[in-house]
Amino acid sequence: MISQTNPASVYQRFIVIDDDKINNLVSKFVINRFTKDVQLHVYTDPEVALDFIAQLNDTSPKQLNTLVLLDINMPRMNGWEFLEALKALNLNYLSHFHIYIISSSIDPSDIKKAEEHDMVSGFFSKPLTTEYLSQTCQGVSANM
């Protein structure tokens, strides 16, 4: 586990998408505890998050490794619909995005869907912890 001296360094950007404001606050603090000096973007509306991702500039010299923490149950656009919409944008810098589902769901069909979804790297049960964040770093090259 401690093979990586500074596992936090693999991501330069965090995007949290969840309609639950309290959970977002928790995620924000846990991410700050895990790593400092990163871009942190929190969205309660997946459509706004989608606009933000779409306008990211992919011509910047250095691609940012990005961790996306995505909730499933949200009104109007749920996590799965968000992924569909994101896929449809066809952005070439998505290869630097690592998307994890973070949910309170215990519905096996949600967990199975997360495991099988080609855009999703994993499924976490709320609340977010630094242990979860460490796990997301495994196998990701630092890209600095």
Binding site: V30, N73, I106
Partner: protein
């Protein structure tokens, strides 16, 4: 044994016995529960017993010499012919088949045993077919299958219900755990307490919602009475007149004021109130709210049609979710995502159903089917 054999007996000492046998065999073939028919080798009727004639409303005069397929539903012709072929292939055995027979008000389900009859030399001469009515059995079987479907559907709903409830409870518990986890960093302890308070309140609300829903589903015997539809709706409308006036609401009743229906008054009120307040909540900002209510009879239902000219909803996209728990579709903060779920649960508890049609920008139409038959409520 045929009649000629019995009567042709030379031995006079056996005549009385033979007559007894004759009466005995006649009573068997003229019984009131088995069909007995014979056909020649071409499949044309050569004998029909009285019970067969009675049940199919036919006479021997009409059908002797006619093809036996004429009294079998065309869907079953192939299986009948196949069974006859098996009889010829294995003439020493009986062969079983289920056939449907046309009767004036539908079809009879009948189960048959076919067997080849041979002459003294062992050549096939006729086909003997003995059958009986299994229609009540088939109907019972269908009823049973329907009950299994209902049970499976309820089970599915229950599992889904459990997931939703557990998700909603867990999400608030997760928030409380999360806040406790970050409380060291959270310098503002009043904020932390406030957030925990908020989560606890939500948790409490979920539990009371849960109670509300379970109490609807747990009702084993709902009191059903006759209500005057206009009076009931009008009373509800009066009670929220201020809300309706604010939306500039106009309500059109497209049915006679003396119309009545069988329903549970409390559920009826809850359903109507929910639909009206929904219409107000999701009214179009571009026009005053117009609600049109009509009432029709259809099979065993009184159908209340509730039409508004509000925002509407993309029905193709959301049809499956519209009546789901904690589903909200508009950017409204006062949406609980529970109203239509409760409405659906209530009307289904009265053995009715709810349907919806909607067009974005035009409005939404709900159709409520109130069952007018004696209502048995299935406990979930």
């Amino acid at each position: 044994m045929t009649e000629e054999n019995i009567l042709g007996e030379e031995n006079t000492g056996n005549v009385k016995q033979s007559q007894n046998d004759d009466a005995y065999f006649r009573s068997i073939i003229e019984n009131n529960s088995f069909y007995i028919i014979k056909t020649d080798l071409e499949g044309n009727y050569s004998y029909l017993n009285p019970f067969f004639c009675k049940m199919l409303s036919v006479t021997p005069e009409e059908y002797i010499g006619k093809n036996s397929l004429s009294l079998i539903l065309s869907e079953d012709h192939a299986i009948c012919i196949e069974t006859v072929e098996r009889c010829f292939a294995q003439p020493d055995q009986s062969h079983w088949v289920m056939l449907r027979k046309p009767v004036p008000n539908g079809a009879l389900f009948t189960q048959w045993e076919f067997k080849i009859l041979k002459d003294e030399l062992g050549n096939p001469v006729e086909l003997l077919c003995i059958g009986h009515d299994i229609t009540p059995l088939i109907l019972k079987q269908e009823e049973l299958r329907n009950m299994v479907d209902v049970a499976a559907e309820q089970n599915k709903r229950l599992v889904n219900f459990t997931y939703i409830i557990s998700h909603n409870i867990r999400s608030h518990v997760a928030n409380i755990l999360g806040i406790l986890n970050i409380s060291q960093e959270l310098a503002d302890h009043d904020l932390a307490l406030g957030l925990i308070q908020e989560s606890t309140t939500s948790l409490n609300e979920i539990l009371s919602n849960l109670n509300e829903i379970i109490s609807i589903q747990a009702h084993t015997s709902l009191p059903i009475v006759e209500v005057n539809v206009f009076e009931q709706i009008n009373r509800i409308v009066q009670s929220i007149q201020i809300l309706l006036n604010r939306a500039g609401t106009k309500i059109d009743y497209k049915f006679e004021e003396n119309q009545v229906m069988q329903t549970n008054p409390a559920y009826f009120e809850s359903i109507i109130l929910n639909l009206i307040t929904n219409a107000v909540k999701y009214k179009s900002p571009e026009r005053d709210l117009q609600i049109t209510i009509s009432l029709n009879a259809q099979e065993q239902y009184k159908v209340l049609t509730f039409q508004d000219n509000g925002l509407g909803i993309d029905i193709e996209k959301y049809r499956d979710q519209l009546f789901g728990m904690y589903k909200t579709f508009h950017k409204n903060n006062d949406s609980r995502g529970l109203g239509l779920y409760i409405t659906k649960t209530q009307i289904e508890a009265m053995n009715g159903r709810i349907e919806v049609e909607s067009t974005v920008g035009i409005g939404t139409t709900f159709k409520l089917y109130f069952n007018q038959k004696i209502i048995k409520t299935v406990t979930v």
